[in-house]
Symmetry: C2
């Protein structure tokens, strides 16, 4: 199976695996797709360590790196990381800090062990630039993807000068059009059912509109794809590949505490919610007491990005590390799309890929039969 | 193109057109699909008149009738229509009446011309039973569809005894499973992007889960289908046909005031909202001042079904009849799915069908090419 984009990249099948786990990156690339490491929240040192490992294990295959470079946000004019931190620290009300901390304490989630571990400025331009610089030193990193908004022209130029592709996510038509105008190589178009940040319009409606709106630029379909039938649906609507995130969360190779995996396995498709309570922008995740707590009338409202993300940085790392401690799962950050309802068994990435492509082939045969039946 | 369900019905293509317009019913059935007349809110006399016309114009083709028989609601124990009306009248607060009337008056929407025209008890069992009785006297009415919930066993039996098929809509897996257990012949599975009543889970995620959950019972895919690529996506995921509603709203044969058509044509896919403000249950429609007015903190909350529907019966008929008068479109009831963003040109039903099937064939050829490309 080949589309223009998969040919350009030289991969066997147009399956793009978004993941925070280096093992998943390597396994999916080795199975014929391409792993894309989600590096939001990583320090440069962390990214270096992960890419060293990936480079050493991926053989001749390629991979991608996903970062987040917002176009504008509060404090963007601050030039140094120190100034940015000072601005953010000053802007977060004590009531919000106390409320977040109380939720963690009430659920019995332990403190982070080392007070000196810094809070990462996930969404600063400086941080993103440093991550892109690091990624581009790696010959096997074939593409950069921006998780949030159109990347600045300098970065687009830098990536192209290095001979790599650059794309970005879009949950609205106008964002996809802006990406095209900025000279990107592809758009990852995510419907509202997807995990993490997404818009209001669902994949079924948004994908074909995006394909038409930015043609001939390739669209990768994201949001709602977990099996081969869904992949065929995406390709039927003109996508040049599928971008899957949720499905790998319970892959055997994924690094996650068992308690978090269990939360995903137990959830059905009605158990997610779009919430601003972790990043400050609407993102889809498992519904729980944390997401509900920030919605109540007598509680603080989520702050805008990047304030809320800074405020909850500690909650995210503590609920991931101590996923099985106390009532942690009642307040844990478990981002995932509505396909979570289909995710019930842990399989290796290779098996997931095999099953995805077998089911795709079977579904295509089936629909060909139905169509020609008289 | 044939599925088991389309073969059973004896139609040429598995395209099910849900519409309130008799002309659309006739045109779609004559073009090879099957028109399904939405009769919610019709009196028996009205239905008789519409079906007389359809029977006279549809030739040898068949059609369906869609009604609404809720399983339970406030006042269901009341036995006569008069008692039901009395209960509902007593249960609607004056504040709600005044608020609805003020919105209509402020927008300059004229009064309904004849005070004696009764308010229909759209959601009563008695009303639905009478409509089903009438529909089953028509040999060309091949199927009954329940718009809301599993129909009572007596009605399932009655429809089967008459040699017709019966199906029902489902926006949640558990509803589809209940329909299967009740002995229905098919399920119309509608994702959250669909117009009218729908659940939280999107078509991309819900359809394949429903296909698996109720196999081998046929699933008709609804919600998000307006073109051939979307139809192919639905068939790819195992649907036995597509159920389209929004697309016919601006068909040239559809009966609607020009101002309402213009609202649909001007809207993009981000202009809809799921709102309780008309029926009391969450339904998707164009966002406007009416839907926003019922959300504000200083305004009344929508009442539960069937109270809100009774309260807004007058608003619905007035905003449809006087769609172009004053600021009517600012408060009009314009139910539609997210595909409204694709609906920009008025075409005949025949042209819509032709384009749908041509694009389907083209998309299938395209995906076959991509899949076999090396």
């Amino acid at each position: 199976m080949q589309t223009e984009l998969s040919k350009k990249l030289g991969i066997e099948v147009p399956v793009f695996a978004f993941t925070h786990c280096r093992d998943v990156v390597v396994e999916v690339s080795k199975a014929g797709g391409i792993g894309v490491l989600g590096a939001v929240g990583f320090s440069v040192e962390q990214l270096r360590e992960e890419l060293d490992w990936i480079d050493a294990h991926i053989g001749d295959h390629i991979y991608g790196v996903d970062t987040a470079i917002p176009q504008k946000y509060e404090g963007m004019d601050k030039s140094t990381p120190e100034e940015l931190v000072a601005m953010i620290e000053a802007a977060i009300p004590q009531r919000h800090r106390d409320f977040a901390e109380k939720l963690l304490r009430d659920a019995g989630v332990p403190e982070w062990p080392d007070e000196k571990d810094p809070v990462s400025l996930s969404f600063s331009v400086q941080q993103a630039q440093a991550l892109v610089d690091e990624a581009l030193t790696r010959p096997k990193c074939a593409m950069i993807v921006n998780a949030l908004g159109t990347p600045p022209p300098e970065i687009v130029q830098q990536v192209h000068d290095a001979g790599r592709l650059i794309g970005a996510l879009a949950g609205r038509l106008k964002h996809g059009i802006a990406h095209k105008e900025a000279g990107l190589d592809f758009v990852v178009c995510q419907g509202s059912e997807g995990g993490g940040h997404a818009g209001e319009v669902t994949s079924m409606v948004l994908w074909p509109q995006m394909v038409d709106a930015i043609a001939p630029l390739p669209v990768l379909a994201a949001g709602g794809i977990g099996n081969g039938r869904q992949m065929l649906a995406a390709m039927s609507m003109g996508a040049q590949g599928v971008w899957m995130g949720s499905r790998w969360l319970i892959a055997t190779e994924a690094q996650a505490e068992p308690a978090q995996r269990e939360s995903y396995k137990a959830a059905n498709s009605e158990d997610t919610v779009r919430s601003r309570s972790f990043t400050g922008k609407t993102a889809r995740m498992l519904k729980n007491e944390w997401t509900e707590a920030w919605e109540r009338e007598d509680t603080p409202d989520a702050l805008p990005m990047p304030l809320q993300g800074y405020l909850t940085f500690d909650a995210v790392r503590r609920t991931h590390r101590y996923a099985g401690v106390g009532d942690c799962q009642k307040i844990a950050f478990n981002p995932v799309g509505q396909v979570v309802g289909q995710m019930n068994t842990e399989q290796s990435c290779r098996d997931i890929m095999f099953q995805l492509l077998s089911e795709y082939a079977e579904a295509l045969e089936q629909v060909n039969t139905v169509t020609t039946q008289e």
